[in-house]
Structures are given as C-alpha cells and as structure tokens.
Symmetry: C2
Subunit: 300 residues, 2 copies
C-alpha cells in the first residue's frame, strides 16, 4: 500500500547534527552556511546546540551564530537538553527547541548518562519553560533500527518512547537510525507499527548513511506517508558515540529523489549544492553527496 505525500518538509541538520560531528569551523562559516541554506529555500534549520562545550566544543558558539542571523521566515531550532540550555536558546532567538532520547537503554546510558525514563523526566522543566514561552518542542529518538551496544531494537520500544515524548508535549518526534544499520524492511516494520497508534503528521525520519541505506530507508518511509525528513547538506556529520558511523543522509540526494518522485519541497537544488561545497571547503573535504559531486562535475 503506497501513499506518498504530495509535499515533504525537510529539516536541515547540517549546521547542528552535521557540524557537531566534524572538526570545528568558525562562527562566520556557520553563519554563512545557515544563510546559504535559507537562500536555497530551507524553512526548517537546526542551527545549534545549547549543551556543555565540554561535551560538544563544536557547538560552543551556538548563541553567537543564532544571534547573528536575521531569518524571520525560517524556523530556527536548537538542541536544548536542560533548562539552562533552553533559556540560552530562547535568549539567542531560537524559535523551536529539540530534546533527545533513545530507544536503546544502553545507548541512552552511554550517550546521556541516564535511563530512557530518566531522560524523559529530565525534559519536564524544559517542556514547561517552552510552553510558558510559546515555543514548540521537537523530540528525537535515536537507535530506532538498531543500537551499537544492544544490536536489534524492538519496534515496540520505539513506539513506547515515541508515545512518551508526544505525551510530554512534543509536536513531532523524529525517528533516528543513528548508526545507519537499518534496511528498508526494518524501517517499514517500525514505522508501520507506529502508524497504528500515532498520526503520520507527528512523525519524522532521521537516517544516517553509514551502510548506504539512508535514501532507500527514506523512500520506504515516504511510501508509508511520512512527510518530514531530516537531512544534512553535504552529508555532514555522523555520531562520535557510534563506532564506524558516517554522516547524515545528504540533503542534496534527498531533494534529487523527491524531484524524481514529483514531491514538492521548495528547495533550489543548485543553491543547496553550492552551500554544501562552501562549507565542505571550510572543512577541507568534498561533500559526501553523490548529487553534489555529479552537479559539480557537469558544471565543469
């Protein structure tokens, strides 16, 4: 049963989940990137993380980045794991908060040092603060298709954690295959179960391309009606806690797929690709996007 959406919303992860897992670039480079992404038509951009710079030094300048942006039509979001981060994010001008937990107890312990339930409990004050300030909150669940420590993750566990985040007040939950081990059948299984209990408009997918499966997994999710897709320009990033993990699925490759499927997205592929080349030049590497490389070659 296929029910592709007519329109997809892409949530751009490059400046946060991407750059968080690359070597540090300057504040100016980040501002240039986010402005270029906005120019390319992206309306949802995760712009930083308000976490301890001891954990994630690459995100230490998130407040400076966001304060320097003047993008009234863009939904700028940031990771806000606690009240201190949420307050700083609000002060900087963030329009949306993001909180994260995992569908794997071991991953949650190793990544954020607490159980899944504790992680959700801890978010209560961020949620209350967000509500008081009329800020919406997005939830992330990692390891929905597998965990580097536990291996297989039961779809039922993903459902439970997702429902808890929605009950807490998240407007949407993004389902992360953090280690990129999922294939189309596993993704179909997990999402099909969730859709029996949760409206599809409350779900997004967030797939890493470690095993080259991300785009096929996104295609599977789209075929089930999922209409929000996380992606990072130039395939930036990865996961330092997950052995062997490479980056996010490249936004350019997702846009190319959507073009082929005739699904609306509002993004200019050439501008997007140029934004990716610009930031990867700052990083001293080439985009991890086949589309970006192919477009570059044909423009030569």
């Amino acid at each position: 049963m296929t029910a592709f959406p007519t329109k997809v919303r892409i949530v751009e992860m490059g400046a946060r989940d991407g750059l968080q897992n690359e070597k540090a670039v300057s504040t100016k480079d980040k501002i240039t990137l986010i402005n270029a992404l906005s120019d390319a038509g992206l309306k949802d951009i995760e712009a930083g993380a308000f976490v301890s710079p001891k954990w994630v030094p690459q995100m230490a300048d998130s407040a400076d980045v966001i304060k320097a942006l003047d993008l009234p039509h863009v939904n700028l979001s940031a990771l806000t794991p606690n009240l201190k981060g949420a307050q700083a994010a609000l002060d900087a001008g963030v329009k949306e908060f993001a909180i994260f937990t995992a569908a794997s107890e071991s991953f949650c312990q190793k990544n954020i040092n607490c159980s899944i339930d504790e992680s959700i409990e801890r978010f209560s004050e961020v949620m209350a603060f967000a509500k008081a300030n009329n800020i919406r909150v997005r939830g992330y669940v990692s390891c929905i298709a597998g965990c580097p420590y536990e291996g297989n993750i039961a779809p039922q566990k993903v459902l439970e954690v997702t429902q808890k985040l929605l009950a807490l007040g998240c407007y949407e939950v993004s389902l992360g295959d953090t280690v990129g081990v999922g294939t189309a059948s596993k993704i179909t299984e997990v999402i099909s179960l969730l859709l029996q209990h949760i409206d599809k408009t409350k779900l997004a997918v967030h797939f890493h391309d470690t095993y080259g499966q991300a785009l096929t997994n996104i295609y599977s999710a789209l075929s089930l009606g999922i209409a929000t897709v996380d992606a990072a320009v130039a395939g930036l990033g990865g996961c330092p806690y997950a052995k062997g993990a490479s980056g996010n699925v490249a936004t350019e490759d997702v846009v190319y797929l959507l073009n082929g499927l005739g699904i609306e997205h509002g993004i200019d592929l050439e501008r997007l690709s140029n934004a990716g080349w610009q930031i990867t030049q700052a990083l001293g590497k080439a985009p991890v996007s086949k589309v970006a490389i192919a477009l570059h070659n044909t423009q030569k």
Copy 2:
C-alpha cells in the same frame, strides 16, 4: 503491489564495467580480484571485454586474465561486440557472451557509432557463433532511465530494444541506468511496462550511483519481482562517455540491503568487502561503498 524475490542472483561487474573505467591495474591484480570474488561466493562474474585495446586499453589483457582462472563453478562472462571478440573470448574459456546497445539513439551513435537497429543487426553473427558453440548471450541496454544527450528516454523505447535483444536470442537483458539519473518512480514506470510484455526472469537491473539513487532504484526493481542485479565490488567504474558519471552501485551495499530484506544471495559480505579493499588498494583509492568503509571502521 510488492512481490520481492526470495533469492537474488548478483552479476559482478567490478572486473569489467568497473575496471574498464578506472586507471589500469596489472593482470595479476585482476586475477586476484576475480579469485577473491569467487571465494566470496559470486557465481556470475563478468571478467573482461574483447574489444579493441585502442578503445578500452584497460581490457587489453582480458584473454590472459581469463586463461589464468580456474573457476569451474563460476559463470565467467565477457563483452563480445563482434565475431573477432567472440572467437577470442571462446578461446580464452569464457562461458557467456555479453552484447550491448542503448535505448537512446544519440548515446548509441556516440558510444558505438551506429544506430540502435544497426547495433542489433551487427550482433547477428555473434549470436550465430554463440549458438553454434552452445554459449549463452546476455544483452545490455544502456540509458534506460535517461541519456546525457537526449535527456528523458521513453519507456516504450526501452521495451522495444529489450524485445529486439530477446528476439535475437539473448537469454536475459540487463537494463542499465548508465548515467544514474533515474529515481524510483522512473525505474518503477519502465520496469512495470516491460513486465507487461516480458517475463521477469528475463530481466536484470544495472544501475550506476551517479546521483546516489542506485540502491533505492534496485529496491524498487526488487519490489517488482526482479531477481537479477548487476553490481561492482567497491563501486568500481563509471562511464567515460557520460559526463559526470560515477561508478556502479557497490556490491557490498546491495548485499547489505538483501541481508536486511531476508533475500538469499549466497555471498559472504566480509570476504566480498576484503576483495574490494584489495583491488582499491591497487588503484590507490578507498572503496566507494559505505558498507565496505563501515565494516573496515568497525574492524579497527
């Protein structure tokens, strides 16, 4: 309507379509590669091309490579565009011939200097020679999803050319998205049309990953019941006639997908990945396979 096959036959392209489009490696490296591919469980290996060394210097030693192999259980095939090539291939010990044309007139002209119909006519004597020697012949149709010169290619054209190759006596036709421009909807459209007229056991898919779509396109083809997939270890190769083209889809990534889908294939992924690392070392590069890189990282 999904009808995934329970078993898939992978036709390994690395030693031919792959190495044909990489810088030259030694005859010994090719022999090592093909033996390693056989050790990994591959039963269908395209081992060389009997074409003019002026056109394709990388394949000049195909006879030496094939003569040096002792793989009675492997179906070793080679490109044989004319009678001279077919004779040389037979002498070397090739068990299957392969002939190629395109679904695009312009591509056919630029690539093999004749019209599609002329290209098929020219194969008559190769076919007669094959029949007389009890050798089966595989057909390739390139540009099934688009052409670098003509842009869109009508599915009806792909059907006509495929039917002509089957009528000529090919036991199977491999449908090539040579320039990798196809996305899942286009692939689904083309294959769905062909399946109205041709039995699925006579069709294979051959997708290049220029725009990162190959695996998703293979997934689409599998969902329609296609059970033969061409792939090249380490994503070797490309197409020198197609601007911006990168390599074949990586066999490792296809095998990972099949594992996830629970589809039988008979290939040992670790051995396959090692074969890819070995040949890419000889080429002075890393495999263009996310799976090969991820496995390598996790083994560190």
